[in-house]
Symmetry: C2
Subunit: 431 residues, 2 copies
């Protein structure tokens, strides 16, 4: 069989591992595909800085490499919107199948890529874009294709999970835990993409689209980072036998007017008994609830060169096999075309800590504020006395808008000195 | 699009759920496949006993149903070797694609079915045959197709996991826990297929074949059930901060003479910190270690009508899509053709409890027996004094044959009153 020629775009942490595996596993890959793979070129910004790959393969002309007639498959691990989008569109329009790990691009403009792939009759695979090595997109797209997915809850960002795990383990505040993550190389010099939830929001958009057969972009995802999570929040979670995690949540919300999609990223308390609670440090895990399958969980390394390259290689074998057999994998499935539920209408439970005046009638006044907004209280307890009195409340399921209005009422009350913490509670029954 | 017609063989716990989902999800399935599915016939032993499906579909002539010219896809959930094998061969030879949940048949004679599918150019999918709803075979076959899988360790039998979980929780003996499982419907009247490890061994054969791209049959799998696990074994595990699980283990063992495959099912202690340790009751979980991906875990419901039907439907969508596009999914990949490592050559760690005479020199004599067989001891502790003296030993990694010889030596020693328990220890470093 004639070799299938690969253009690799990017040769950093992931790309260099892709190049290594394509070389080291060549015999196995050829046997699994039915034809050998050949790395035909590697596009990088500075070709003289890559001593670890054969220099003859390196080029700084990515567009020229993608346009070469002899290229069958394009692997993109550059990341970011441009020039990745232009390069991949050129590849797809030129009849090349694409494997990409680019979550930002897929979440911002996946539709354009999917349309180009469909028009050209080629494959666009992107398992590596979410949760690194964990097989997740293929199970959602294929294994659960006959089921009705209700909810996907994931820990899909290792940096924030490391920070929150440290805060849980040591009682440290956010700044201290971030500094530790930075020192250990778990956080970037500019940690905003991770800490502010942008990375997780892109992944949530991809997961929601696959799970619910609809198009969801990063802009559709409600997003709160972990920068405001305090040591007191983490301690409050512990007191409830919970832990705080940054969750990417994709939900199908069914009402009389039909199904809607909620996609959101925010910190939340989850019970320590929940399978996601034990996922520590830089690991990722995704919990899926489907109507027939019930609860499923997928766990593994969500980042890193070799794990992410493993996911890229799995896709590479699939698209290469399709080339050999002249077929094409399942394309985008977005027929359901569901509306996005606004965050104000999302129902969850909430944990609130209120610094209050320790005097008769305060609880009645606080409870009245909740009642006025039709937010039902599940539990209340008072901690401390006198100046240190704090009311800790957990609500039943309430919509976000009503909770926000309740918090404004509470902030305006003389007896409430401070709304010290408001955090969603997930993974318990909604009511 | 013309509907794709399905013949359903079997309408018990799983089959009736398949029929229900094909009906209830018909609009979604049609959108995902690109053509509607139509249940054209259901073969059962006693057609008058199925009030829950349209009587016009029922037949007791399975062979006649499979042979019908208008059938595109055959779903088999009868189980067992015959008549399932004859029916599926007839289906495949007749150009029909097959979805089956039949682990026993695939583990005994998968090669014959795979060959027939390849010859006819049709699909043979069987995600539901292992670990119910958990997407596992597709990840092994496809997501990890570019990686080198080193080890698969699974809890793949819910009945035995329930029994061992109860023994761990309550201190009960095997007979008592089995009686509880039977009363609750977790164990069959004749529990041998589960308790003696036959069910798990069939699954281990399927997993090992997929993980290592080779053919493995149930007869290649070393098998020990849980009938000999005692309350003392479970207590001994607790003392080491371990728990006892029935594990299906598939390992790639690399030596100078090349790779070999070890596939085995037996009870073993695993550390409570291992992700599999927390998998309780009737849940299944499978832990996969791959060279590039690192550690992965898949968790969910391993049995039950709806969960298993979810896996069947996922396959059904895939093979139906392939029909629509005139393509075929990846077939069997058995090119590696690896030899099976004999159980005597498998290296693991062992936990031994020896009732001994409480007198000077006993430990030296016992240690000598291990040394004579080149089995290295990791830890020893003595429990109790006088008549109740017990030596508890944990070895470093040792091959099974040497351990068996050591146990024979120990049994023959005057100072050893009884070899009270021998259990493998998995999930720790091998040495």
């Amino acid at each position: 069989m004639k070799p299938l020629k690969i253009a690799l775009l990017g040769c950093g942490v992931v790309g260099s591992q892709v190049a290594r595996l394509v070389d080291e596993q060549s015999a196995d890959l050829a046997a699994r595909i039915g034809a050998p793979l050949e790395l035909a070129g590697i596009a990088v910004r500075r070709p003289n800085r890559h001593a670890d790959v054969p220099p003859g393969l390196l080029t700084d002309d990515a567009a020229g490499l993608v346009a070469r007639d002899d290229i069958d498959l394009v692997v993109e691990v550059i990341g970011g919107i441009e020039p990745a989008r232009t390069l991949l569109l050129s590849a797809l329009e030129g009849g090349k199948s694409v494997v990409t790990a680019n979550k930002a691009l897929l979440a911002e403009d996946g539709a354009t890529l999917h349309d180009a792939a469909a028009k050209a009759g080629v494959d666009l695979y992107y398992e590596a874009s979410v949760a690194g090595a964990i097989p997740l997109l293929r199970p959602l797209r294929e294994s659960l294709a006959g089921d009705r997915i209700l909810r996907v809850i994931g820990i899909v960002n290792g940096t924030t999970n490391f920070i929150l795990s440290r805060m849980d383990a040591t009682g440290a505040g956010f700044d201290e835990a971030l500094a530790e993550a930075t020192a250990l190389g778990y956080a970037e010099a500019d940690p905003s993409a991770d800490v502010d939830g942008f990375d997780a929001a892109a992944k949530a958009a991809i997961l929601a689209g696959l799970a619910f057969h609809t198009r969801v972009t990063a802009a559709d995802v409600y997003r709160e980072g972990i920068g405001d999570v305090t040591a007191a929040d983490v301690a409050g979670a512990k007191a409830m036998d919970c832990t705080v995690k940054l969750l990417a949540i994709c939900e199908r919300v069914t009402s009389e007017s039909g199904d809607q999609v909620s996609a959101r990223v925010h910190p939340a308390m989850i019970p320590r008994s929940h399978p996601l609670a034990g996922v520590g440090d830089a690991f990722n895990a995704v919990f899926v609830e489907a109507e027939a399958a019930g609860s499923l969980m997928f766990y593994g390394r969500g980042a890193g060169g070799a794990p992410t390259a493993s996911a890229v290689l799995g896709d590479l074998v699939a698209v290469a096999r399709n080339r050999v057999t002249g077929s094409r994998g399942a394309g985008e499935s977005a027929y359901a075309d569901l509306p996005i539920l606004s965050i104000g209408d999302v129902r969850t439970r909430y944990h609130l800590a209120l610094d209050v005046a320790d005097q008769p009638g305060v609880l009645a006044a606080v409870a009245g504020a909740f009642a006025d907004e039709h937010v039902s209280i599940s539990t209340v307890r008072q901690e401390g006395r006198g100046d240190a009195a704090t009311l800790v409340l957990v609500t039943h399921g309430a919509c976000d808008a009503a909770l926000a209005r309740t918090v404004r009422r509470l902030s305006d009350m003389a007896a409430v000195r401070r709304v010290a913490g408001v955090l969603r509670v997930e993974g318990m029954a909604a009511e």
